[in-house]
């Protein structure tokens, strides 16, 4: 691949980054649009992180919000009790989530829980944590714990405007994409892809499936946990309802619909589906209450049925076609 080709390949990334950076300048005045793009990017981070365990390692994890909740509670509690800045809370929250992932992941992989049973046990994990935090009155409990309200405080990561949050979440997204990209090019990535295809075959060629899966799970949990700390600041409180099975399933669905194992796939699905859904909610939600959910569900079903490989390959084809038209066959594909 020569330099020119590489430039063409990297072009979309650069354009995307530039556009993402200037989005607040275009829509920053309108806070609704800001919170919408932040929410979309937020789901993008979760789905991109999910790609590591779900897409690459092929473990259908349905516990995204378990790790998110752990990160949110760690960082939120540190802020409320000891006034620790959420910037540190992010790291610690990620570590707690990753530690917890190791704790449950080890026996899960050790005892060979896989496929649908792995998915179900991770879903059950979310509920277990929700109930545990609901009963744990010192840290959780049924009463919402509000983070201090500040119009703009970098120390507390509390802002009245969404623009700073947008950039924080964008930063997380770039980190998640970068980690994904690095893993996909590393030995771990090849091992994961191999065991995502067939675990037995991978073990035959000498892949330590257990260790690889555990690593993938912990990296994913760390990113999601750190995102959880930001989530708590964004919404201004922590509550056991953060441990939410339905929303966890949604993250996995975004990963599946986007195209499992493709770095940018889950992000693509998050951008299209989440913004589409929120747009419909804003425009249809108050007249025909559940119509937008029905439409959303039908879209999910149709994509899953007719594009089981996800929507990312479609977009790749479209881009290659576009490229071949613009710069000629030589640089495309």
């Amino acid at each position: 691949m020569n330099t020119k080709q590489r430039t063409i390949k990297m072009l979309p990334l650069l354009v995307g980054l530039v556009v993402a950076l200037i989005v607040p300048l275009i829509v920053g005045k309108n806070q609704y649009n800001m919170v919408l793009v932040t929410t979309v990017l937020f789901y993008g981070v979760l789905a991109t992180a999910w790609n590591i365990i779900g897409g690459m390692a092929g473990q259908l994890d349905l516990a995204a919000w378990a790790y998110l909740g752990l990160g949110a509670f760690t960082s939120g509690t540190l802020l409320l009790r000891w006034n620790v800045t959420p910037w540190l809370g992010m790291i610690l929250g990620g570590l707690v989530a990753a530690g917890f992932a190791a704790l449950v992941g080890y026996p899960l992989f050790r005892f060979g829980v896989k496929e649908v049973w792995y998915a179900l046990s991770s879903a059950a994990l979310v509920e277990v944590l929700r109930v545990a935090f609901l009963m744990w009155d010192e840290v959780g409990g049924p009463v919402e714990r509000y983070l201090p309200f500040h119009r703009a405080s970098w120390y507390h990561m509390r802002f009245a405007s969404y623009v700073p949050y947008y950039y924080i979440v964008l930063g997380l997204l770039l980190i998640a994409l970068f980690v994904n990209y690095r893993i996909s090019r590393s030995k771990l990535g090849y091992y994961l892809l191999a065991l995502g295809e067939s675990e037995d075959a991978a073990e035959v060629i000498g892949v330590d499936a257990r260790a690889c899966k555990l690593k993938a799970l912990m990296i994913y949990a760390f990113i999601v946990g750190a995102t959880g700390a930001v989530y708590a600041c964004l919404f201004g409180f922590i509550h056991p309802s953060f441990f939410n099975t339905a929303q966890s399933t949604e993250v996995a669905i975004l990963g599946i619909i986007g195209g499992m194992g493709i770095v940018y796939g889950p992000l693509l699905a998050a951008i299209i589906l989440v913004s589409g859904r929120e747009f419909m909610r804003a425009n249809l939600g108050s007249s025909l209450e559940s119509l937008y959910l029905a439409i959303y569900a039908v879209v999910l079903i149709v994509i899953a049925l007719f594009r089981p490989q996800g929507i990312a390959p479609l977009f790749r084809k479209a881009y290659d076609w576009l490229l071949s038209r613009v710069v000629g066959e030589r640089y495309a594909a």
């Binding site: 354009v15 509000y146 405007s161 509550h239 693509l268």
Partner: protein, 426 residues
């Protein structure tokens, strides 16, 4: 080649831009300082219209709609040349994030001067960060005590708060037992495990201790239980004289049926907080099993005033049942807002819709008559600086012959409470 994967990012960007351009709404011109008034005053109803709490939000929205119709039919805001109200509605979903998104959406699209909502306390607090920043008055119908203790400047709650409900439920039983010459000493307190249930139970526990009662059973349970028979068996084993229960909503039906089915019916069962046992929908769902159940209410559908009778009639014509609590709370909340707008028009004729002026008007409100009071549980509306009305009273309704009737406070009672339950088995 993996590098190629990035290529699709350009498409992503295009999608993002398209999605955004679809949502961008033209921002309204800045409010001129001159007394030039808009064509109508936009107020918003932001309620959970989908998801787990949709049942409350839908009722609340209808209550607000009828109130706005009535206010406009009665001549709008008189101090502002009869300016009419224009209601815009939005779905707040079922989570804190969807609530915040809904608040941003309704404010950026319509620029309302005030928003009524969002029934669920954690959604209300999440949305109130937005209304606070944008300086939009939030007239809350969420009852959890902490809604008004988080230091919000532009938030007002006309309805009685949750702990007042819990205390009223206990006081009602204590009063009724005294009147009937019965010695009730042992109480079981049960609530669903949300902050709402906890607030109610706290009020009930304080009231029970103040009245010298013994709490023989006190538990929280998840509202989505599938079977209540073990809890009912435990309450029976604790030998409570009466049960004070804060259900979420649908679980009230499960408990009522289970109390009857097990034959372990205590001498009295009273629900506290919001809906539960005496909601028209519960009564409809329960049939004869609803008989003798009592529940506190933030709205008095039986209040004998012209305004209230008109509201109940119109609500019945629209939905087929009498107003639920969510509908009633929003009906009088809309009228309270109307009175505040009137007052703001008198106090600040040059800029009545300025949020700070409107806030001043809310704080100066002192109502003892008019449509707001006629539909209000209590006879005095005035707000403390935190946004609560200490004179709000929870009333107690009891299902008698299939109809919810006001039985407490005694001075407002329509009929005498049937006390204790004639079908009690213990």
């Amino acid at each position: 080649m993996k590098g190629k994967n990035w290529s699709a990012l350009v498409v992503v960007v295009v999608m993002l831009t398209v999605a955004l351009s679809g949502c961008v709404t033209p921002s309204a011109p800045a409010q001129p300082a001159a007394p030039k008034l808009p064509e109508s005053i936009v107020i918003g109803s932001l309620e959970p219209l989908t998801g787990a709490h949709a049942v409350f939000g839908t009722e609340a929205k209808i209550g607000t709609e009828i109130a706005v119709d009535h206010i406009n039919a009665a001549g709008g805001i008189k101090s502002l040349n009869g300016l009419k109200l224009k209601l815009v509605t939005e779905d707040a979903g079922e989570n804190a994030d969807s609530a915040k998104l809904g608040a941003e959406s309704i404010i950026s699209k319509h620029h309302p001067v005030a928003i009524l909502g969002l029934y669920i306390s954690r959604m209300t607090i999440a949305a109130s960060e937005v209304t606070e920043r944008e300086k939009v008055i939030l007239v809350a119908d969420a009852l959890v005590d902490s809604v008004t203790t988080s230091g919000r400047q532009y938030l007002f709650r006309p309805a009685p708060k949750a702990s007042q409900h819990g205390a009223s439920a206990v006081q009602f039983v204590v009063d009724s037992a005294k009147k009937a010459g019965l010695d009730f000493t042992k109480v079981a307190i049960l609530n669903e495990d949300s902050s709402f249930g906890r607030s109610n139970a706290t009020g009930a526990m304080d009231a029970a201790l103040n009245n010298g009662l013994t709490i023989v059973y006190q538990k929280e349970y998840p509202y989505d239980i599938t079977d209540a028979s073990s809890i009912v068996a435990d309450i029976a084993a604790a030998k409570a004289d009466f049960v004070v229960h804060c259900p979420y909503f649908t679980d009230a039906i499960l408990f009522a049926k289970t109390f009857r089915e097990t034959g372990n019916i205590p001498k009295f069962i009273v629900g506290m907080g919001a809906s539960g046992y005496t909601d028209p929908e519960s009564i409809q769902a329960l049939g004869e099993t609803a008989e003798y159940y009592a529940n506190t209410f933030s709205y008095n559908p039986a209040k004998k005033t012209p305004q209230n009778e008109k509201f109940v009639a119109d609500f019945k014509a629209k939905t087929g049942h009498i107003p639920t609590e969510a509908a009633g709370m929003n009906y009088y909340a809309a009228w309270v807002l109307k009175e505040a707008l009137e007052l703001s028009g008198q106090m600040f004729p040059t800029d009545p819709l300025n949020p700070d002026n409107l806030r001043q008007a809310f704080l100066k409100l002192d109502l003892t008559s008019g449509p707001a009071v006629e539909t209000y549980p209590g006879d005095h509306i005035a707000f403390t600086p935190t946004g609560d009305n200490p004179d709000a009273k929870a009333v107690v309704l009891q299902v008698i012959k299939g109809e919810p009737r006001i039985v407490w406070p005694l001075e407002d009672a329509e009929v005498e409470a049937i006390f204790p339950r004639p079908d009690a088995t213990r």
